[in-house]
């Protein structure tokens, strides 16, 4: 189990280091690109926990989709290369409150969860299991999420269409 631990710690180090870069870098673009390594490390941890399907989906959705959108948004930011406007620390008191709240929730989860101990970890294909659970036990939440996503999609389409109309009638940019 020694080498297993080493690999897990390497991935954990990648996650912590790149997440620190995301949070503390003075350059917003660096923060965005550092997320790539964070997501990669999380996918690695998923693989070590025998969640193979989740690891691949993590890369596919977060790196291929969400990260690219974040980078787009960052690049469209006004005066992006201006260090003064990016990543300032604002309102430390409120920030500390949120931090404490999140830590409390995380600690609660950590102490409540029934962790599987070393040696109990079973490597097996999880794809079919996840499919079964989604379409049988958790069908209702799954459908609700689908409807939510559909609503978001239609909302985005509506917002974009309004902009085009304003451009045609008013001639404003």
């Amino acid at each position: 189990m020694q080498s297993f631990n080493i690999v897990v710690y390497v991935f954990a180090a990648i996650i912590v280091a790149s997440a620190a870069l995301v949070a503390f870098s003075r350059n917003l673009v660096y923060s965005a690109f550092a997320l790539l390594f964070t997501f990669f490390g999380v996918a690695g941890i998923y693989v070590m926990l025998s969640a193979d399907f989740l690891a691949a989906v993590q890369l596919l959705i977060y790196v291929g989709g969400i990260l690219v959108l974040i980078i787009f948004a960052v690049m469209l930011t006004h005066r992006i290369s201006d260090v003064e406007i990016s990543n300032q620390s604002l309102r430390p008191a409120q920030g500390a409150l949120i931090l404490i709240g999140i830590m409390a929730v995380l600690l609660g989860v950590i102490f409540k969860t029934q962790w599987s101990l070393e040696g109990q970890l079973e490597y097996q294909a999880t794809t079919a299991l996840i499919g079964d659970l989604l379409l049988k036990k958790y069908l209702l939440p799954f459908e609700i999420v689908s409807v939510l996503l559909l609503a978001a999609l239609m909302g985005a389409a509506v917002i974009v269409r309004k902009e085009v109309r304003g451009e045609q009638s008013g001639g404003k940019s």
């Binding site: 673009v29 660096y30 989906v57 291929g64 990260l67 980078i71 787009f72 690049m75 294909a125």
Partner: protein
């Protein structure tokens, strides 16, 4: 690779002393190096073949000076790229500029780990093989945007942005068309998908049912678009953007972009062969028992079959590149969202209905009774 590692641990005396984890580790590293030894010369040779094919199609000669018929041209090009000065523009973001080519190359090289070559020859037969290939190749987009941004050049940035928009758009129909095949096999593994097909064309998924037939073309067109090749090469459109996101790169870093592009062409062709064209299936079968472990002629026949099919598709990519004009940006998006995505959805539903009515029987099976 796994069965090979197990065989070594069981049968070779000197490995008993070492913990099996280290044997696996060494074999993984060796396997990776072997793949690299395959990918780099193969991608290099493809650059030469591409230029010769282009020459023939345009009634000119192409490179024919270095070696017989110019076959050592890619070696000369490689040496030139390595020896060339590595220029970093003063205005560029140095760290990201240096990092970007590696991310692009790693993203496309990682996919080779799950690509099958023959019955026994595959680095890792993952049970999520096809999903893994799409997942790691999504890293390429980030690398391309990074190179476009770090170059600090309008044309590069524009190329990087176009590339990202294009890859994200065409990923949708590509994955939807692959889903049709996944429905038919019920597995995400590459070897499992090939085993579900036969050696004869009527047993390939291409001719399994009308929807799978259309799915192949949707998949191949979107895959060509994902590779940023003509007719979908607006990210590097020479007449508009000089060379797009890799304009500022020179020397070895430019070489990495180039290698990644040609490696990607091989990857999409190999995936298409695996999913739709029967993979390594030959009329021969592996003997069972002790003989099945040997590197047999059947295995070699499978390897040759797979490579021939793949390189035929690679040739089709080159053929498209030198015969079709480039699409405009808005045309590209129209093709992607208004035609490819609805067709892919139609295919998915159609395949599901087919399976509801006839199960996993193919047309050939229905006609044959």
């Amino acid at each position: 690779m796994r069965y090979f590692a197990d065989w070594i641990i069981e049968n070779l005396e000197f490995t008993r002393a070492i913990p099996s984890e280290y044997v696996y580790l060494i074999i993984m590293v060796v396997g990776g190096l072997l793949l690299l030894l395959f990918v780099v010369p193969m991608a290099g040779a493809l650059t030469f073949v591409e230029r010769r094919v282009a020459g023939k199609m345009q009634s000119r000669i192409g490179p024919n000076r270095v070696g017989p018929q110019g076959i050592f041209q890619f070696v000369a090009d490689g040496v030139k790229l390595i020896l060339k000065e590595d220029i970093i523009p003063t205005a560029a973001d140095r760290r990201l500029f240096k990092l970007a080519p590696y991310i692009v190359f790693v993203g496309s090289f990682l996919t080779f780990a799950a690509l099958p070559f023959s019955q026994k020859l595959i680095a890792a037969d993952l049970n999520i093989g096809i999903l893994y290939i799409f997942a790691v190749s999504s890293m390429v987009v980030v690398g391309i945007i990074m190179s476009g941004w770090a170059s600090n050049n309008n044309l590069s940035l524009l190329g990087g942005m176009r590339s990202a928009a294009q890859i994200i758009s065409y990923e949708v129909p590509q994955i939807l068309s692959v889903l049709a095949v996944i429905l038919l096999t019920g597995t995400l593994g590459m070897q499992g998908t090939i085993k579900a097909q036969g050696w004869a064309p009527q047993h390939w998924f291409l001719f399994h049912n009308p929807f799978a037939f259309i799915a192949f073309f949707v998949f191949f067109i979107s895959a060509v678009a994902e590779c940023n090749r003509i007719p979908f090469d607006i990210p590097e459109a020479e007449s508009e953007l000089v060379s797009g996101y890799n304009t500022e790169y020179s020397g070895f870093r430019f070489g990495l972009f180039f290698l990644a592009e040609f490696a990607n062409v091989y990857v999409i062709s190999a995936v298409a062969v695996t999913l739709f064209l029967g993979g390594w299936n030959t009329p021969f079968y592996l003997p069972t028992g002790i003989w099945g472990l040997l590197p047999s002629a059947v295995n070699l026949a499978g390897l040759i079959t797979f490579l021939i099919k793949t390189f035929v598709l690679v040739f089709v990519c080159m053929w498209l590149r030198w015969t079709l004009p480039r699409l405009r940006v808005d045309q590209l998006m129209t093709v992607g969202w208004k035609y490819m995505v609805p067709i892919a959805f139609f295919n998915l539903v159609g395949t599901a209905v087919w399976m509801l009515v006839w199960g996993d029987k193919s047309i050939a099976a229905l006609l044959g009774g």
